[in-house]
Amino acid sequence: MVKEHQIIAGNFDLAGRASTDLKRLLKSMATYPRLYVNRVCSASYEAEINIVIHSVGGYMTYEVSETTIELNFYDDGPGISDIELAMKKGYSTASQIAHLNGFGAGMGLNNIKELSDRLTIHSTPRGTHLKMIFTIGERDA
């Protein structure tokens, strides 16, 4: 099953729509452990918020299979100039509005890395692609 959601830059009212839809789907399937679903959706929400805060907009796709879930987040720039620096806890370029919404503390990418089983990031000034793979493991029991 593959589905796509648009993510609008700067819109905190609509932020979370994609991840909420994913959560509802996974819960309704009643196939996966609760902690696994929470892990996938929490990483999804962080990535979604990152697009809202830092990009000019983008979209996410998810692919759900019996054994793995794959999430892909794409945006149209301006890209991450230094991925290694962006992965460091506490490093942030977020705006005041992000802080007012409880985000922008420089933990997002780090959280995503810890929550996912495999994370790849490709970024250029024309856009960023995050790919996350989740497999059910011991931490989900």
Partner: protein
């Protein structure tokens, strides 16, 4: 596990969207940085926070908790309460500051 009804016995707490059933929580996590909540909260805990935006409700849905304790100075809108009700999330407003909530819960043996 601590019950919401026991939390509400202290008049410093007011429930903003009462539901018919009582609720329990397995512990509390206090933060105004929602990314730390994503990282550290476990399902069925209660969140203590000042942040009363859609982000807080989305977080509750992702992490699977259904009690949010909003501390002193948190501004709560009708649309926020409405959305919380739709998502079956209980909102509790208090005039305590964050650390005062925690002190109260410890003193009453709720955590």
């Amino acid at each position: 596990m601590p019950k919401l009804s026991i939390l509400l016995e202290n008049t410093h707490y007011t429930i903003l969207n009462p539901s018919l059933e009582d609720r329990v929580f397995t512990g509390v996590y206090a933060t105004d940085l929602l990314s730390t909540a994503i990282k550290h909260m476990k399902p069925d805990m209660a969140l203590i926070t000042l942040i009363s935006t859609n982000s807080t409700l989305n977080l509750a849905m992702m992490v699977d908790f259904n009690i949010i304790i909003l501390t002193k100075d948190a501004e709560v809108t009708e649309s926020f309460i409405h959305k919380a009700t739709l998502e079956d999330i209980t909102l509790v407003k208090t005039d305590y500051l964050t650390h005062e909530v925690i002190i109260d819960l410890v003193k009453r043996g709720l955590i």
